[in-house]
């Protein structure tokens, strides 16, 4: 196997007495789309936050491109090529859609301490931001405040902010959360297109089984803070253990149905 792009080694996270993630190791291969699934409370969001740097692990290490990044602050992770999205929509609500994306472009450059030059004289970040908005289909809304976008638009903006930073790896925390089901395919198509164009690696935490099964190359299943199984979508769908603890009661994977939540 080629060297993993992102790797967690024996990750463990305890909140007081509650062990949310218990000795989990996982490797994300470059260029893959890797989903983390599991029933509620399985610890997948905690694992995600350990990988993205929001939480420090109680023990264990996180590696990115062969470098130990366990203690690297969140803001520096954006500079080495990691971008994360949030489960709850997490924007700059009163700023315009364009400004939301432009800031992410600016963050990667060296102009943030130019105190006395007008921001609109830096045209390259504005153009880049408009390009990204075009890609996710929000170009027309560029001048609106982010807060007035409909929910689906906010999720797209979330993705645009992420892409504006040119990440090598996209960590997506339930990108379709709260979306009307008819909007989901459009967003997923966008993610898929972006990935094919840019060759990014994707780590996905997602509840929507249709999404997981269609987009993933690999799936990691978690249960009670531990790693239960890992494999291709077909292997996971056929794994009886997985079906017993998680999927069997709610989903029929072979039929690819989505639960009503």
């Amino acid at each position: 196997m080629t060297e993993p792009l992102l790797e967690g080694r024996q990750l463990r996270k305890a909140f007081g007495g509650l062990v949310a993630v218990d000795e989990v190791s996982l490797q994300i291969a470059p260029g893959s789309a890797h989903s983390i699934i599991g029933p509620n409370g399985a610890g997948k969001t905690t694992l995600f936050n350990l990988l993205s740097g929001r939480y420090r692990p109680t023990s264990g290490t996180v590696w990115f491109k062969g470098r130990n990044i366990t203690k690297l602050p969140v803001y520096q992770r954006a500079h080495i090529g990691m971008g994360r999205s949030f489960q709850i929509t997490n924007l700059f609500p009163q700023l315009t859609v364009l400004e939301n994306v432009r800031l992410a472009v600016q963050a990667k450059g060296n102009d943030s301490f130019r105190l006395l030059r007008r921001v609109d004289t830096f045209t390259a970040p504005i153009e880049k931001a408009l390009e990204v908005l075009e890609l996710v289909g929000l170009r027309e809304s560029a001048a609106l405040p982010a807060s007035v976008l409909p929910h689906g638009g906010k999720r797209k903006l979330e993705l645009a902010i992420l892409l504006a930073g040119d990440p090598e790896i996209l960590l997506l925390d339930e990108p379709t959360a709260g979306m009307a089901s008819e909007q989901v395919p459009e967003l997923m198509a966008t993610i898929d297109r972006v990935r094919r164009d840019g060759g990014q690696t994707i780590v996905l935490v997602e509840h929507n089984m249709n999404v997981v099964m269609s987009i993933s190359d690999r799936i990691t299943v978690m249960h009670l803070g531990r790693l239960l199984a890992e494999g291709t979508p077909t292997e996971i769908a056929g794994n009886t253990l997985v079906q017993d603890v998680y999927l069997g009661q709610l989903y029929d994977l072979s039929a690819g149905e989505t639960p009503q939540s």
């Binding site: 520096q76 997490n90 700023l95 105190l115």
Partner: protein, 369 residues
């Protein structure tokens, strides 16, 4: 030519007000038949007459505007709530006063050095406070700054060297600067400092750095996750705001020719806060309008007496009560402050008639309501 035209269209009214402020001492002098430079007596000038009196009022407005603008930079633009803003104001005032009164330096040198050291110390204080506490979130940072300002207040209230609670008077300033001698010059100096401060702040908020400040106010977590070291930007904002408040403190000491612990008191934290909120948090003009409005009201009403049955009440004695009432009223009528509410209203009017943006402004109302 075109850029001049667009400048006049956009900023013409500000230029108009600026010219009005330049002419103000002479307008008042003409209207009231007084001298804009005071009345000569021997080789000294006596500050008497309506023109010099109103100059003092406007000088106070400029100083309070600077203080409120600096508070707004932190609170309104960067989203950092400090309850210790008087610290910068008073500390630089003390440094300036001590250099003038308690060192053997020549007056001119002490003045120059006092300005530089006072402002530098305010910036350093901002840096120090920031490094020690900006990792604290929201209310904890506010409480810490409050405690620090109160400690400084108590310290200088007890310090015998600087005459404790009474504070000390500044005996001598360079004559050309002294508001009791050359008030007209001092008027133009404070006006210049105020205008330069305003323009610098406006440029800063239009710069990439200002964009990051606003991003931090909107959502600090997100600003970090897209790659900004937000602590560094908050420190920068605190240092700039500290230096601006420090400059205001020095001007205040020059105007009153006195330094006392009241400059470190809660009033000089609460007043700029109220002025900012009433004028419009996170707007450039709001703090100026808040400062001018509140101070002119204060001056206009200070000596009025209202008869209530048999009792007569001097407005000055119940000013705090009136301030509170104004605050409640303004916040209810203008939920985003005077300037902020006006801006939203204008935005909504611009979008009227265009169905797509009408929906947008409806959504904006829902959001804000």
């Amino acid at each position: 030519m075109n850029s001049l035209k667009s400048f006049l269209k956009r900023d013409g009214w500000m230029l108009f007000i600026f010219i009005g402020l330049l002419a103000f001492p002479f307008i008042v002098a003409t209207l009231t038949g007084s001298s804009p430079t005071g009345v000569p007596r021997g080789d000294r000038m006596i500050m008497r007459g309506e023109s010099v009196r109103w100059q003092a009022v406007l000088i106070e407005v400029f100083i309070l505007s600077l203080l409120a603008m600096s508070y707004n930079l932190l609170f309104g633009f960067t989203g950092v709530v400090s309850f210790g803003h008087a610290l910068f104001f008073g500390l630089s005032g003390y440094i300036f006063g001590i250099l003038l009164e308690y060192t053997a330096l020549d007056t001119g040198l002490a003045t120059g050095l006092g300005i530089v050291l006072g402002i530098a110390a305010s910036g350093l204080l901002g840096l120090g406070i920031g490094l020690a506490t900006l990792r604290l979130k929201g209310v904890y940072f506010a409480i810490f700054t409050l405690a620090l300002a109160e400690m400084a207040y108590i310290f200088f209230s007890r310090l015998q060297l600087t005459k404790a609670e009474d504070g000390f008077a500044i005996g001598e300033l360079p004559v050309w600067l002294d508001p009791t001698q050359s008030r007209l010059t001092f008027y133009y100096i404070t006006l210049a400092v105020f205008v330069v401060g305003f323009l610098l702040l406006r440029r800063l908020m239009a710069s990439p750095t200002g964009a990051v400040f606003k991003a931090i106010r909107e959502n600090e977590d997100r600003a970090q996750s897209i790659g900004f070291n937000t602590l560094r930007f908050k420190l920068l904002s605190l240092v700039i705001a500290g230096m601006m408040a420090g400059a205001a403190g020095i001007l205040q000491v020059m105007l009153n020719k006195k330094v006392g612990p009241e400059m470190l008191g809660l009033t000089y934290t609460i007043d700029p806060l109220l002025m900012t909120i009433i004028g419009g948090t996170g707007t450039l003009l709001g703090p100026v309008i808040g400062a001018a409005g509140l101070h002119l009201l204060d001056v206009g009403l200070r000596d009025q007496v209202i008869a209530l049955g048999g009792a007569s009440i001097r407005i000055a004695d119940v000013w705090g009560l009136i301030l509170g009432a104004i605050f409640i009223l303004v916040v209810m009528v203008f939920p985003y402050g005077i300037v902020g509410t006006y801006q939203r209203w204008r935005l909504k009017r611009q979008h009227r008639g265009d169905p797509a943006s009408a929906a947008t402004s409806r959504a904006a109302r829902r959001q804000s309501g």
